[in-house]
């Protein structure tokens, strides 16, 4: 039997991962499944085999060479919120990936404690095979939650977070194996290491100031020079929780590339999918125009820009305002909630206390208040004009029974709007009136109702009609 103890040599020297495996000592052999029998196997089959009939596709319909890929989902110091977010994804859904029900995506054999039918030792079997190098397809490791310093707990004979047990204790005794240990061991042969959620990508709340577990991110754990067997550094999909679609779409995009029809997905300097995290959330915020016009929410619930309620949107990379949270719906500022920077490496400590305006926002809000106070009345002025039919301008009457529109824009407004109209048509050289374009006849020349056509006869705008065919 192989002693996996020496595995630590394959990790980046000096990285916490390498130190952990070195410190843990012997790791010889795996469970004796004969002893365990069917215990924990209520369907008598592994999930992979159960789903195979429904999930297998030919090379033609999967558009590429990759038939299947294993995905090991581990939870470190996590709240399971990333798992929940992933099951909420719709572009694509997790189940469509598992069932290969999405053209081009290889079938994803997900090993996820919330989904799998097998429990206990049987559940861990695939991970053991991955360690041994006997798994039947390439695998990726997906980590949710941060990595805790397990040497600290191991030295006292315990653990912080365990996932299964293996006979790696003293004298071959079963001992709980920590998530951290699994991640370190599986990183060696992995095709890719993916961190989902802010805990796994940057440490998140479990690693906040004052934490006793030494929690850290996956990158900090494996080291800067870590590369998967495909030569890929760690991929990071942050968010607390992340948007489910950001996760499934990234996995899908990588698959499209591997299948040969998608472009190489671009990742930014922190390993984030660049096309998802390249913009600040402020840039696509539904309240952005309030900022521009210098209008700010004062009370919770107000419709304006939230920056003075504690919104960090202008300096945070996130796409929730445009993508939505679930099936395109929701989004923090869309609902009225200020951004606390939950996707950022500085979360949470660089954003606390919450509900307090970011100090740096003072300069920009002052400027936008000034420009806004000029722009807003001008816009309102134009908006009034555009809220009137051309016919109302002529008849001087607004026909809505609600009577909200003022029927008479007032002398000054009329003159200004006239002037504005001229400006708008400045480059329009067509000076003939409608008749010259064959537009005014009994039927209006273009199929319009005669009365409708006549309405334009004397009007200014008929003279300025768009040049048409003769």
């Amino acid at each position: 039997m192989i002693d996996y103890h020496n595995q630590h040599r394959d990790l980046i020297p000096g990285s916490p991962a390498q130190k952990l495996l070195e410190g843990l000592g012997r790791a010889v052999g795996f469970h004796d499944l004969d002893h365990i029998g069917a215990f924990g196997m209520p369907t008598g089959a592994y999930m992979e085999d159960m789903l195979a009939p429904a999930a297998i596709a030919t090379a033609a319909t999967r558009f590429g060479p990759l038939e299947k890929v294993h995905a090991f989902w581990f939870a470190g110091a996590s709240c399971d919120g990333c798992s929940v977010a992933a099951t909420g994804a719709t572009n694509p859904t997790v189940e469509s990936m598992m069932l290969g029900a999405h053209p081009g995506i290889p079938r994803v054999i997900l090993h996820h404690p919330v989904i799998n039918m097998e429990s206990g030792a049987h559940y861990m079997r695939a991970a053991e095979q991955a360690m041994e190098g006997t798994l039947n397809a390439p695998y990726v490791v997906i980590l949710e939650g941060s990595i805790m310093d397990e040497l600290l707990a191991f030295d006292q004979g315990g653990y912080w977070s365990a996932a299964g047990e293996e006979p790696w204790g003293k004298g071959g005794e079963l001992r709980p194996v920590s998530t951290t240990e699994w991640v370190a061991r599986l990183s060696i042969n992995a095709a890719a290491m993916v961190a989902i959620g802010t805990c796994a990508t940057w440490g998140g709340i479990p690693s906040a100031e004052g934490n006793p577990t030494g929690a850290m991110s996956l990158m900090d754990f494996l080291g800067k020079d870590y590369r998967s067997v495909l030569g890929v550094p760690i991929v990071n999909i942050p968010g607390c929780p992340p948007i489910g679609d950001n996760f499934t779409e990234t996995i899908a995009a990588v698959c499209y590339f591997l299948q040969g029809f998608g472009p190489l997905p671009e990742f930014d300097e922190l390993g984030r999918p660049a096309w998802l995290f390249g913009e600040t959330v402020h840039r696509r915020c539904v309240r952005g125009a309030y900022y521009e016009e210098g209008q700010f929410a004062h009370e919770f619930g107000d419709p304006e820009c939230l920056v003075e309620l504690g919104c960090w949107g202008p300096v945070v990379n996130c796409n929730i305002t445009s993508r939505g949270a679930v099936r395109g719906i929701g989004g923090c500022m869309n609902a009225g909630a200020a951004c606390i920077g939950c996707t950022m490496p500085g979360f949470p400590d660089k954003f606390t206390p919450f509900y307090k305006r970011p100090p740096g926002s003072l300069a920009s809000t002052t400027v936008s208040r000034m420009t806004g106070s000029l722009i807003r009345p001008l816009r309102k002025f134009s908006n009034n004009n555009l809220n009137r039919e051309v016919r109302w301008d002529k008849t001087g009457e607004v026909t809505s029974g609600f009577g909200r529109e003022k029927s008479d824009p007032g002398m000054l407004a009329e003159v200004t709007h006239h002037f504005y109209d001229k400006m708008r048509r400045f480059n329009d050289n067509a000076t003939n009136d409608g008749a010259a374009w064959g537009k005014i006849g009994d039927d209006g020349g273009d199929g319009r109702h005669p009365e409708q056509a006549r309405g334009f006869k004397s009007g200014e705008s008929s003279k300025k009609a768009m040049p048409g065919r003769r």
Binding site: F39, G40, P113, P176, G204, H298, Y355
Partner: protein, 633 residues
């Protein structure tokens, strides 16, 4: 109201006093007298059986899948007699949130404690807000409370189908039945479903196929309905599972008519589905009980449970501990403690002072204190009460006789109490206190509900207190709780429309500047009495000089995953497993899957994501906070 074990008496007006004597709370002075089998008797019996019989298996299932979070279960299984002789539940995750919240600004507690659990993320944020409001003396405006109710009702709309179809459902599916209970399959093929006209599955076997993981139509439909309810939640909260809109004193949602209308149109799609869900989970127990009566024992334990109530009356809730019994009684779901099926109290103060947390079998050092001899009303508090709790986590070796889990033993009146969304059904059936409603009625022994018309017609349903309490009844009650919660959502939406009509728009009582000024400098206590997808959820906090000095979370799964208490009584999971018979064919020990034990465990809807405690490293506690979601403590 009286406690059976705790040394506390009540006068006619319900005020509690401590009975005299030295050390009244001592383990030997206040010993629960309901212990059926002592730990020594259990051990002796196992020893005798092992000596006689080679078929006792010592098995550890780690991890148990299809639950949220990390749970393992150690059992001693007597395959000859088809009995689980012993069981130990292990919460296998600890995260150190305590020191993270310690010394922080109280405003941080909402978003930080929310991350205690992402399975029911919104509930912690809300619970924290209630605890802060009590400590700081803030009362949200009615619309703020109504929006919170809407969010939390919608969250149950995600939580219940997730459990019933993704986590528990597969245990009753064709794929499991054919492998683990093959004798049931021919029966299922010929068993006509009594509710076929509602859910559309003619034979039980059709229904079981639909429960198959990933490929079954019920599994897929359940997943999709969790998404629909999440859509409803995020209209108000911005994101899921961690809401971004909860603030001390209300919410920050910008409520427009569109918000309410969207909520309405999405919620309207749920009621037909709720009818199907109840029909499915009524037929499953009927089939299993008929096939083999022993299924009534799967996951059974006394109907002894606790709940802190849920969904406030927007006009009664004032955020004070002084009035908590009044506003607690007006909740859409009444608080309560149920002992052996009987509702013994609905008062939040009784519920609070009966609470204790022990660490004899958990990876912590005991360090209870007496810093608060009474609650703010003068009712006596145990040294093991969360406000008095001093806990030192200490990872260590696993020892079934000593320490084996990250979960503490939570007890109420020194009894192992269960938590679940179904506790709401049990309490509301008996309390007759829920608000007057066109849709829900508490009869004293059942909950009657009117399902509003969707594409199928309206229907009246009634959930009755079951005679036995077991895995099947948990799932059935959960399916009914789904409807209950959605009706509360509907009622709350109507309340929001009404407030809108009156021109009410205020959703929070303080502006951010006012909130900052309101942070008190003196010593304050607070408690959030709330609920989660699994029932009971309570946050206790203490603050001083404007900073948090203690933060304790007692979650539903901490109650359920409790290890043995100081008197050797098992926690609810452990007890339910020991009461579970092995119904599967045991002629070949190799093919023993333990399916019934898994059905038992999963019926609780375990949710273990977090365990947190303070640890300063040098053995001396400087400050200590505990935020824990589920499972551990």
């Amino acid at each position: 109201m009286c406690f059976k074990t705790l040394p506390v008496s009540f006068d006619g007006r319900g005020n509690a006093t401590l009975r005299g004597g030295a050390n009244p709370y001592g383990y030997t002075n206040s010993t629960p007298n309901h212990v059926e089998v002592t730990e020594t008797e259990r051990e002796e019996r196992i020893k005798r059986l092992v000596a006689r019989n080679g078929h006792i298996k010592d098995l550890n299932m780690d991890p148990i899948t299809r639950i949220a979070g990390a749970l393992a279960l150690h059992v001693q299984a007597d395959l000859d007699n088809g009995e689980y002789l012993d069981a130990h539940a292990q919460a296998t995750l600890f995260r150190g949130y305590e020191l993270i919240l310690m010394g922080r600004d109280p405003r941080d507690a909402i978003f930080v404690s929310s991350r205690a659990c992402g399975v029911c993320g919104g509930v912690h944020a809300h619970c924290a807000a209630y605890a802060i409001e009590m400590a700081m003396g803030i009362k949200p405006p009615p619309l703020g409370t109504v929006v919170r109710n809407m969010e939390q009702a919608a969250e149950m709309g995600y939580d219940n189908p997730l459990h019933l179809y993704l986590l528990a459902g597969p245990d009753y599916s064709e794929s499991v039945i054919k492998a683990s209970n093959p004798e049931l399959w021919p029966l299922a093929e010929s068993w006509p479903c009594p509710n076929a006209h509602i859910h559309g599955f003619k034979k039980m076997s059709d229904l079981m196929v639909a429960l198959n993981p990933l490929t079954g139509s019920l599994y897929r439909e359940g997943l999709d309905f969790t998404r629909l309810s999440r859509e409803i939640v995020v209209i108000l909260t911005g994101k899921y599972p961690h809401p971004q809109n909860v603030v001390p004193g209300g919410v920050s949602t910008t409520l427009t008519l569109q918000t309410l209308n969207e909520f309405h149109s999405k919620l309207g799609r749920i009621f037909d589905y709720a009818q199907r869900m109840m029909a499915v989970w009524d037929d499953i127990p009927a089939f299993f009980y008929e096939a083999d009566e022993r299924y009534m024992q799967v996951g059974s334990r006394p109907m002894t449970m606790i709940d802190a109530g849920y969904w406030d009356d927007p006009y009664a809730y004032d955020g004070t501990y002084e009035n908590c019994n009044e506003w607690g009684d007006k909740r859409w779901s009444t608080p309560g403690a149920v002992i052996d099926g009987k509702l013994v109290t609905t008062r939040l103060t009784d519920i609070n002072i009966g609470l204790e947390e022990f660490v004899e079998h958990a990876y912590y050092e005991p360090s209870h204190t007496t810093r608060h001899a009474t609650d703010p009303l003068g009712n006596p508090l145990s040294p093991w009460h969360p406000w008095n709790k001093r806990t030192l986590p200490k990872p260590g070796a696993r020892d079934w006789k000593d320490k084996y889990t990250w979960s503490t033993s939570v007890r109420w009146d020194r009894r192992a109490v269960e938590a679940g969304c179904y506790a709401r059904m049990i309490i509301n059936a008996q309390s007759r206190k829920i608000p007057t409603s066109d849709f829900i009625e508490s009869t004293g022994h059942s909950v009657r509900m009117l399902v509003p018309k969707g594409e199928v017609g309206e229907r009246e349903v009634e959930w009755h207190m079951p005679d036995v309490w077991n895995a099947f009844e948990r799932n059935r009650a959960r399916a009914h709780h789904y409807l209950y919660s959605q009706l509360v959502g509907l009622e709350s939406l109507f309340e929001a429309y009404k407030l809108f009509q009156q021109g009410e728009r205020q959703v929070a009582s303080l502006t951010p500047e006012e909130l900052e000024k309101a942070i008190p400098q003196d010593n304050r206590l607070g408690v959030g009495f709330w609920g989660a997808g699994r029932g009971w959820l309570v946050h206790h906090l203490e603050m001083d000089k404007g900073k948090l000095t203690n933060y304790q979370i007692t979650t539903p799964s901490t109650l359920n995953a409790s290890p043995r208490d100081p008197w050797g009584n098992p926690g609810p999971y452990e007890e339910a497993v020991m009461n579970t018979p092995m119904i599967e064919d045991l002629s070949n020990p190799e093919s023993f899957t333990s399916i019934d034990m898994m059905r038992a465990i999963r019926s609780f809807d375990p949710c273990m994501p977090c365990t947190t405690h303070a640890y300063t490293g040098d053995g001396e506690i400087v400050r200590e906070v505990n935020t824990c979601s589920c499972g551990g403590d």
